[in-house]
């Protein structure tokens, strides 16, 4: 789970020529142009490639130590064996069905919990009365360790989908709520005053000034929520489930299939990364004005 909201962009995107929307000057000699192009390409390769060096090295070391017998395969199977197990499960269709089930649960929980958190965050950020009414209660509930609710949840919902949805939604609710509220409360008062002085009020003021100002913080909440979402889902699926990636792992443990267990963990990592990436794309699309995301105006 990555909490850093912004990764530095490659230098290329910050070059003044692009930022100001003007074409590069034509005065340079062909040689310098080529050199520039090469350095731009270099910057690109560097930005795209460097993050993969460390995972690659780890993978190679892992494979080597497993192949030479340094690590026993019942302790940690070699990467190739895990790939094989993955391929086997893909062919049997088990991987895909369980993957879809897990993704569905995560998504449903995110929509319900995130939606509610967003709605409460908005209403408490905009209305003093609403905040007085609900905020202290929400903060109280927030301090209950989520996983301590599991016995109760199983008593209430059994081990049906309801239990998982409840847990995931609850885990997503708080980060989205807290950050939406924070975002709205910290919108620049001076901009709001400016908007009012130009006759904006109600929905217009919200849409043009308050919401765009709160959006970066809402995204921080969303990315944080994605992290807690996967953690909760894994726990819910390993404790009580009959499908899903967590179930796949628990089932494999009973049959000592270490390769499938490791595979499940890797799939979780991949899903988490994928969700984070999706939010990042969303951020880039909606926060283009933000200096941290700036690539010039489209």
């Amino acid at each position: 789970m990555s909490l850093s909201s912004v990764e530095p962009l490659p230098k290329l995107q910050n070059s003044p020529a692009r930022a100001y929307g003007t074409p590069a000057r034509g005065g340079a000699s062909p040689l310098t142009t080529v050199r520039k192009m090469r350095s731009r390409l270099g910057a690109y390769v560097e930005a795209a490639g460097v993050p993969w060096i460390l995972p690659g090295v780890i993978l190679i070391l892992w494979q080597l130590s497993a192949a030479t017998g340094l690590i026993s395969s019942s302790f940690l199977p070699e990467p190739v064996a895990i790939l094989k197990a993955g391929w086997r499960l893909v062919l049997s269709g088990e991987l895909l069905t369980n993957l879809l089930v897990s993704a569905q649960r995560a998504f449903a929980g995110l929509v319900v919990g995130g939606g509610l958190g967003f709605a409460f965050g908005l209403s408490n950020g905009l209305s003093r009365f609403s905040e007085r009414l609900t905020d202290s209660t929400i903060q109280m509930v927030r301090n209950i360790p989520l996983l301590s609710l599991i016995p109760l949840v199983i008593l209430w919902f059994g081990i049906d989908e309801g239990a998982k949805l409840f847990l995931v939604a609850l885990s997503v609710f708080f980060p989205v709520y807290v950050n939406t509220l924070h975002g709205i409360q910290t919108v620049d008062d001076k901009l709001v005053e400016m908007g009012r002085s130009y006759g904006m009020k109600g929905w217009d003021l919200f849409r043009r000034v308050i919401f765009p100002g709160a959006l970066p913080s809402v995204f921080v909440g969303l990315r944080y929520a994605l992290g807690t979402m996967w953690v909760t889902l894994i726990v819910a699926e390993t404790i009580a489930a009959q499908s899903g990636i967590g179930y796949l792992a628990m089932h494999a443990r009973e049959f000592m299939q270490v390769d499938v267990v490791v595979l499940s963990i890797l799939v979780y990592a991949l899903l988490g990364k994928l969700a984070d990436f999706a939010v990042k794309l969303l951020e880039h699309a909606t926060l283009q004005w933000h200096p941290a995301f700036q690539r010039g105006v489209s």
């Binding site: 001076k190 005053e193 908007g195 002085s197 006759g199 043009r208 100002g213 105006v297």
Partner: protein, 288 residues
């Protein structure tokens, strides 16, 4: 100043004119003020008092600004000049006293505009969209885009319409803020030290830009500043506020554009500065 419609190029009167306003590279003043300029509002403040908690900021202050007049308000920091301006612009309400505007015509509803010390541009809206904010509820009309583009041209930023505010310099941002205030053709423009944060050169440029647009639009302007030189460069009248009251009311009867080195100019500047600093000689409230 009377501006007759015949000053306007005929082509630009046609709605779907082939001449795009964006094609002007140089500031286009005629384009912005094609409608005969509205006369400024007469602003009258009577018996204004305002306090924050125990702190009395304004005390029984009377002030009258003639239509189309450029008034500068100077004073030490904390003398209440900014509060006075916020009251005039309707951002706050006075504890006692009242403010009235007399408009030559009654068609306009919201005509008091304020330009803040900071540009206060919406960072998530393009320069053009920021200017359209100034149109208020009229920004949904079809000509909103054209009018905003014209206002941007008039401050010399027509070519930057589609950029984010964050790539502009401080002076350019303040020019966008000026375009935003002007696009609604205000009858009364309150200026809250809008040039205070700019460097000396940009400041002089902005002063002459302000003077030009004021001469064109003839709105009533009240400028709050701590810079006596700036006040004398721009204003018809300078008012000095001390302890929440008007202490000095001085007519500046000098030809425009003002010559900063002229003897009359420096004499006035000296007079106001001496008035401002007077309290220091008699009763210093701090020691070094």
């Amino acid at each position: 100043m009377i501006e007759s419609p015949c000053l306007v190029p005929a082509a630009s009167l046609v709605h779907n004119s082939p001449v795009s306003p964006k094609s002007h590279a140089v500031p286009d003043f005629d384009g912005l003020f094609r409608t005969p300029p509205a006369f400024g509002a007469k602003v009258r403040a009577a018996g204004l008092s305002k306090s924050y908690g125990q702190q009395k900021v304004l005390e029984d202050l009377d002030l009258e600004v003639q239509p189309g007049e450029f008034l500068a308000v100077v004073g030490r920091s904390g003398c209440g000049k900014s509060t006075l301006l916020r009251l005039l612009a309707g951002l706050e309400t006075p504890d006692i006293g009242e403010i009235s505007f007399d408009f030559a015509t009654s068609q306009s509803t919201h005509v008091a505009r304020i330009m803040f010390q900071e540009p206060r541009l919406l960072p998530w809206a393009s320069v053009q969209k920021n200017v359209e904010v100034g149109l208020g509820s009229r920004r949904i009309f079809q000509d909103a885009e054209r009018r905003a583009a014209e206002a941007l041209n008039s401050v010399g930023l027509g070519s930057r319409a589609h950029e984010w505010p964050s790539v502009l310099s401080g002076g350019q941002k303040q020019r966008v803020a000026l375009a935003r205030a002007l696009v609604s053709e205000p009858r009364f423009l309150a200026l809250d030290e809008p040039l205070g944060a700019l460097d000396a050169l940009t400041r002089i440029e902005m002063q002459s830009l302000l003077e030009r647009v004021w001469l064109q639009q003839k709105f009533t302007a009240v400028l709050v500043t701590h810079d006596v030189n700036e006040a004398l460069t721009l204003a018809d009248r300078v008012v000095l506020i001390e302890d929440g009251r008007v202490k000095l009311d001085l007519k500046v009867d000098l030809p425009r554009p003002r010559q900063r080195s002229a003897v009359d100019f420096t004499t006035l500047e000296d007079q106001i500065l001496r008035e401002l600093l007077k309290r220091d000689d008699t009763a210093p409230d701090y020691t070094i």
